[in-house]
C-alpha cells in the first residue's frame, strides 16, 4: 500500500475507509442476531404465563426457596400449563395463573412428573396459544438458546441468552444451556432462535432428586431444561392426574464408575422386579429395549426416560446363555423384611435342633418345644440350623409355614404364622451349657490380655473367658471406646461375669488420638478382629460392635462396612445422622440402641432407632434412668449380653 499511495493523508483516508467498511458486517451480524433473539422471545411470549402462589410452607430447605412467583408454559389450548416442580415444593394453598394478555385464572395442580420435576396445572380457559415445539433430535450443542420467564413486574418475558451446552444430560432427562437459569425463570421455556420451545427450565442435579436439587447451580452457566417433546409424550398420563415417578428394578452394578463399567449385576434385591424376572448376580446386561448397551451409564440414560409402571426389556448374558427378560419398573423396592420364627438353635451337634423357644414368639404359639429337631420347612428338607435360617428368611412376616419336627423320636407337623422380630430383649435367657471339660494342652491364652498389632504398631486389649474352649465357638464383642477414654477398667469389671457365663470374648482396639476414631482407623479395627478370629474359634453369627457416646458413629460405619464379619451393633448414648443403608438379606444386621433418660440426645437416639426399624433392621430401643459413672448400669449390660447371646436367633 505504501508503495502505491504517496500522501500520508490519503493513506489514512483509505485505511479508515477499509476500517469503517470492514466494521460494518460485524456490527450488522450482531444487530441481526439481536433482532432474532427479540423475535424468538416475542413469538413465544403469548404462551408464557406468570404463576403466583399463596400460602404453603415457610421454607422448603435451608437457603434457596421459591418465591411467590414463577413462570409456566401453556402446553395445550384447553388450559394446561406446565412448570417446574421447584416452585411447588412449598405446597402452596392457592395457585394463580396470569396469561400474557393479563387475564387471570385460579389454577389447580393436576400432577407432577417426579422423574423430570415438571408440574402440570389446569386453568379454566380455552383457545390458549400453544407454542411450537423444537424436536429434541434437532438439538445441537452450540446453537443459540433463550431462557425466558415471566416473574418480573413487566409486560415482556425476561430473556437470558446462551447456547446449548450439552444434550441428553442427567441420564437423558435434560438439555443443558449456559443461559442464566434461576428461580427467576424456572418453569419458563428454553427457546431456540426460531422461537420454538426446546424445553421447560428446571433445576436438576445428577446426584440427587427432589424439587430443590440443583438449585445451587442457579445463574452459574449450568442450566437445564426438560425437553418439551418428552413432556408432551406423557401429557395424557399427566392430565389423568397421576404423578409420574422414577422407576427402579432393584439391582446394583459392579464397579463404581458408571461411565466406564459394564452393566454386570452385583446385587439383585430381594422381592424386586429384577429378582422376580429371574435376573441373578453376575448377569451382564447386553441390551435394553433391543438397543445394545456397553456401559452402566447407557442403561441409566434409558431408565432416565422411563417411569414406574413402564415396561423395560433386557437381554442378559449369563455364561454362554442369553436371557431375554421383560419387567415392569416400580416406584420403590420394599425393604427386606425378615420373618421371625422365634427359636435359638443348638450351637453344637447335628441337625436343626431347638435349644430355646423364645417367649411370646411364633414358634411358641405354634407349639414348638425345646429339643425339637426341625426336619422340613414347607416340605423342603432342613438339615442344619443355617439351612433353617435361610428358609425362614425367604418368607415374610405374616406368612405361614408348615414345619415338621422330630420330638422324642416321633414326627410332628406344626403350622406356624411367622412374625416380625421383637423390639425388646427377653427378660431371661439361659446361657448355653458350658463345657466342664478341662482345656486341652495347646489351649489359647485366656483372661485379660494386652496385645499389639503388627503392621499397625497399635494396641488393643482383650478379655477371653476362662470357660473358653477351642471346640466351642465364642461370641465376640468389638468394644470401641469414646475419645481418649479407654474405659477399660469399667467395661472389664462389669462384663467379665457375662463373658464367663455366655462364652463371650471382648476385643477392644485402642484409639490413639484424643479426638476419637476416624475412618482411617477402620482397617486397624478390621485387622484386630481378623487376628482374634485367627487365634480363637468365633461363632460367626455372634460378632457385634459395641460403642458408647462419641464412638457410636464410627461403630455404625464399621458395622455397615463389615457386614460380612459383624452381625450387629449395640450403641449407647449417641444418635446417627443420615439414612439407614438397605437391609441386605444376605448379610443381616441387628441393632440394640440405648439411651439414658437424663441424656439430652434421648429423642435423637429414639429417632435413630425408628430409622433403623423403618429400614426393617431388627432393632431394640431401651432407656435407662441414669448412667453409672463413666459407663453403663449393670442391668443394661445384662440386657445387651442377652441380646448378643441371641444374635443367632431364627
Amino acid at each position: 500500500m505504501k508503495s502505491v499511495i504517496t500522501s500520508t493523508t490519503t493513506a489514512i483516508l483509505l485505511l479508515l475507509a477499509t476500517a469503517c467498511v470492514n466494521a460494518a458486517p460485524d456490527a450488522k451480524l450482531e444487530a441481526l442476531e439481536e433482532q432474532a433473539f427479540k423475535e424468538a422471545a416475542a413469538i413465544v411470549a403469548p404462551s408464557i404465563v406468570r404463576i403466583e402462589t399463596v400460602g404453603g410452607l415457610d421454607q422448603v430447605s435451608p437457603g434457596l426457596t421459591a418465591g411467590g412467583t414463577t413462570s409456566g408454559v401453556i402446553v395445550s389450548p384447553d388450559g394446561y400449563v406446565a412448570s417446574s416442580a421447584f416452585h411447588f415444593a412449598a405446597k402452596p394453598t392457592s395457585i394463580l395463573v396470569t396469561l400474557a394478555d393479563s387475564r387471570r385464572f385460579p389454577a389447580r395442580l393436576v400432577s407432577t412428573d417426579r422423574q423430570r420435576m415438571i408440574t402440570l396445572m389446569k386453568i379454566d380457559a380455552d383457545g390458549l396459544p400453544v407454542p411450537r415445539m423444537a424436536p429434541r433430535d434437532g438439538f445441537k450443542v452450540g446453537q443459540w438458546s433463550l431462557a425466558l420467564g415471566r416473574t418480573f413486574d413487566s409486560d415482556q418475558p425476561s430473556v437470558s441468552i446462551g447456547i446449548v451446552s450439552a444434550i441428553n444430560r442427567i441420564w437423558g432427562k435434560a438439555v443443558q444451556t449456559d443461559a442464566k437459569v434461576s428461580p427467576v425463570n424456572y418453569g419458563g421455556p428454553l427457546v431456540d432462535v426460531q422461537g420454538r420451545v426446546m424445553g421447560i427450565l428446571v433445576p436438576l442435579s445428577p446426584q440427587s432428586n427432589g424439587e430443590t436439587a440443583g438449585v445451587e447451580w442457579y445463574d452459574s452457566g449450568i442450566g437445564f431444561a426438560v425437553p418439551l417433546e418428552d413432556t408432551l409424550a406423557v401429557l395424557d398420563r399427566m392430565k389423568a392426574g397421576d404423578d409420574l415417578l422414577p422407576g427402579v428394578f432393584g439391582v446394583t452394578f459392579q464397579g463404581r464408575d458408571s461411565a466406564g463399567s459394564a452393566p454386570v449385576l452385583d446385587r439383585v434385591r430381594f422381592a424386586s422386579p429384577a429378582e422376580k424376572a429371574g435376573l441373578k448376580k453376575g448377569d451382564r446386561i447386553i441390551a435394553v429395549d433391543g438397543r445394545p448397551v456397553q456401559f452402566v451409564a447407557e442403561l441409566r440414560s434409558v431408565l432416565g426416560r422411563k417411569y414406574a409402571g413402564d415396561e423395560i426389556a433386557f437381554t442378559a448374558q449369563r455364561g454362554e446363555q442369553k436371557l431375554d427378560v421383560k419387567l415392569t419398573l416400580v416406584e420403590k423396592i420394599p425393604p427386606f423384611d425378615p420373618a421371625y420364627f422365634g427359636i435359638l438353635p443348638q450351637r453344637q451337634g447335628e441337625g436343626a435342633v431347638v435349644r430355646i423357644v423364645l417367649p411370646d414368639s411364633p414358634a411358641e404359639r405354634a407349639g414348638v418345644k425345646a429339643k425339637d429337631t426341625v426336619t422340613t420347612w414347607n416340605n423342603e428338607p432342613v438339615t442344619t440350623a443355617r439351612e433353617l435360617a435361610e428358609r425362614v428368611s425367604r418368607q415374610r412376616p405374616g406368612e405361614t409355614a408348615t414345619v415338621m419336627v422330630q420330638r422324642e423320636g416321633k414326627p410332628e407337623t406344626l403350622t406356624v404364622k411367622l412374625g416380625s422380630f421383637p423390639e425388646t430383649v427377653p427378660a431371661q435367657l439361659s446361657a448355653d451349657a458350658l463345657s466342664t471339660e478341662a482345656p486341652a494342652g495347646d489351649a489359647a491364652k485366656t483372661g485379660r490380655l494386652s496385645e499389639s498389632l503388627e503392621g499397625h504398631d497399635r494396641k488393643y486389649w482383650m478379655y477371653v473367658p476362662e470357660s473358653y474352649r477351642k471346640d466351642r465357638p465364642a461370641g465376640l464383642m468389638v468394644f470401641l471406646h469414646p475419645g481418649a477414654d479407654s474405659m477399660e477398667a469399667a467395661v472389664l469389671g462389669i462384663w467379665k461375669p457375662e463373658c464367663e457365663r455366655r462364652g463371650l470374648i471382648i476385643v477392644a482396639p485402642q484409639c490413639d488420638r484424643p479426638a476419637g476414631w476416624s475412618p482411617n482407623d477402620l482397617e486397624f479395627v478390621q485387622d484386630c478382629v481378623a487376628k482374634v478370629k485367627e487365634t480363637y474359634t468365633i461363632a460367626e453369627q455372634r460378632v457385634f460392635a459395641h460403642a458408647i457416646d462419641t464412638a457410636v458413629p464410627f461403630a455404625a460405619v464399621y458395622t455397615f462396612r463389615n457386614k460380612a464379619t459383624v452381625r450387629g451393633a449395640a450403641l449407647t448414648g449417641a444418635s446417627l445422622r443420615g439414612n439407614a443403608p438397605e437391609n441386605d438379606p444376605d448379610e443381616r444386621l441387628q441393632f440394640h440402641l440405648s439411651a439414658s433418660l437424663a441424656d439430652k440426645q434421648v429423642n435423637a437416639i429414639k429417632a435413630t432407632a425408628d430409622m433403623l426399624k423403618k429400614a426393617r433392621f431388627p432393632t431394640v430401643y431401651t432407656t435407662f434412668a441414669q448412667a453409672t459413672e463413666g459407663y453403663l448400669p449393670g442391668l443394661m449390660v445384662e440386657e445387651i449380653a442377652r441380646w448378643a447371646d441371641a444374635l443367632d436367633r431364627i
Partner: protein
C-alpha cells in the same frame, strides 16, 4: 510520540467525517453502528477506577465510576468508599487523581465526584439515551473485584437485558438502596466493586449505572440491576451545575420500615382467619353484617389474592396493602372462591381520626 499523536487526532476527525459519508449513502446502517469491539474501545476510557475508604473486614475499598464531563465530573454510587475526605481516581491509562465528592442523592444511590483536570473523554448526558428491551445485547464496564490496576482499563462483560422492571422495597422482596425502574441483566454484572460502572448498548450508547449487589429476599438469588441513566440525568446535571437540592420524594414521607397502618380488613367489614404462621393465606373468616364487604358480597372462606394489582401472598401482605390506602381511594380486591376469581371494588372509608 509526537508523530503518533498528530495522526491520531486527525484520525478522529477523519473517521467521523468518513463514517458520516458512509452513513449518508447506506440507509440501512445505524448512525452509530459499530461492532462490540469498537464500542468497547470507545467506552473503556470513560470508565474509572475508584479507591477509597474500606478495605477492612468485609468492606471492600474499591469501586467504579464514569466520566460525564471533560473537566472530570465522575458519576458513581453512593457508598462507604466515599466516607473518607477524598478518594483516589485512576483513569484507564493509569493517571491518578484525587477526587472529592461534589454532591450526592441518596434516594437515587448516586454521588458525583470531581477530579481536577480537563480534556478527558466522557459520556455526553445531553444526548438522548436509548431505551432497550429484553433480549437487547449490552456491555457492562466496571472494575469488578479490582481486577484492573494502574493503566489497565476496567473489565467488560457482555450479556442481554433480561427484563425492565421496578425495584420496590415496600414489598419486602428487595432491600434495595434505590426504588424505581431498573434494567435487569442476564450476566453477573453486580459484584464487589462493580457498582458505579456503566451498562451500554452493544454499540456503546450509555444505558445506565451498575447497581450494588442485591439479593432477592424471597428467592435468595442475586439480582443484577442497572439504574437507567434517564433516572439519574437531572440530578447529575444539577449537581454538576451547583443547582442541586436533595429532593423529597412522595415515597419519602412514610418510612419504608414502618409501613403505614391506615386501614385494616375490619374497616371494610372483613374479619380474617387468624395470622398464625408467616405465610398465613389471607382467608376471610367472617363478614360483618351491614358492612361494605357484606353489601358487596364478600363471603367467608374467600381467599383474598389481590389488592389492586398487587398479589397478597399472605395475611401480612394484605395488612400492608390495605394499610397504605388513603381515605377515599378506590380499591379493587380479587378473591378466589372455589375455582372462581371474584372482583370487588371498595372505597376506603373516611376515618374520624384523620386530620
Amino acid at each position: 510520540m509526537i508523530a503518533r499523536k498528530v495522526p491520531s487526532r486527525m484520525t478522529r476527525l477523519l473517521k467521523s467525517l468518513l463514517c458520516g459519508m458512509v452513513v449518508a449513502t447506506t440507509i440501512a446502517m445505524d448512525a452509530r453502528a459499530q461492532s462490540s469491539a469498537e464500542a468497547i474501545a470507545a467506552v473503556s476510557p470513560k470508565v474509572v477506577k475508584i479507591f477509597g475508604a474500606g478495605g477492612r473486614k468485609n468492606l471492600y475499598g474499591y469501586g467504579s465510576g464514569f466520566l460525564v464531563s471533560a473537566e472530570g465530573h465522575i458519576v458513581t454510587v453512593w457508598s462507604h468508599i466515599l466516607d473518607g475526605d477524598s478518594v483516589t481516581v485512576v483513569l484507564h491509562d493509569g493517571q491518578r487523581y484525587e477526587g472529592r465528592v461534589v454532591g450526592a442523592e441518596p434516594t437515587l444511590d448516586l454521588a458525583v465526584l470531581k477530579i481536577e483536570t480537563e480534556g478527558l473523554p466522557f459520556f455526553d448526558l445531553t444526548q438522548p439515551t436509548p431505551t432497550v428491551g429484553p433480549g437487547a445485547r449490552v456491555l457492562a464496564f466496571s472494575n469488578v473485584f479490582k481486577v484492573a490496576t494502574g493503566d489497565e482499563p476496567v473489565s467488560v462483560v457482555h450479556g442481554v437485558i433480561a427484563a425492565q422492571t421496578t425495584l420496590s422495597a415496600r414489598r419486602g422482596v428487595f432491600d434495595a438502596p434505590y426504588n424505581g425502574p431498573v434494567y435487569v441483566v442476564d450476566a453477573v454484572t453486580n459484584n464487589s466493586g462493580a457498582a458505579g460502572g456503566v451498562l451500554t448498548t452493544r454499540t456503546g450508547q450509555l444505558l445506565g449505572m451498575l447497581g450494588k449487589e442485591l439479593k432477592n429476599n424471597t428467592t435468595h438469588t442475586w439480582l443484577n440491576y442497572v439504574v437507567p441513566i434517564s433516572q439519574l440525568q437531572t440530578a447529575i446535571t444539577e449537581i454538576q451545575t451547583g443547582k442541586f437540592a436533595p429532593r423529597k420524594t412522595e415515597d419519602d414521607e412514610g418510612s419504608i420500615t414502618s409501613a403505614p397502618r391506615r386501614y385494616s380488613p375490619r374497616d371494610f367489614g372483613i374479619v380474617m382467619v387468624p395470622d398464625v404462621v408467616t405465610k398465613t393465606p389471607a382467608y376471610v373468616d367472617r363478614v360483618i353484617p351491614g358492612s361494605a364487604a357484606a353489601e358487596a358480597g364478600v363471603m367467608p372462606d374467600d381467599l383474598i389474592l389481590f389488592v389492586g394489582e398487587q398479589l397478597v401472598a399472605s395475611y401480612r401482605a394484605l395488612r400492608d396493602e390495605l394499610g397504605a390506602l388513603e381515605s377515599g381511594d378506590r380499591v379493587k380486591i380479587v378473591v378466589r372462591r372455589g375455582d372462581q376469581l371474584v372482583t370487588f371494588e371498595f372505597t376506603a372509608p373516611r376515618k374520624e381520626t384523620e386530620p
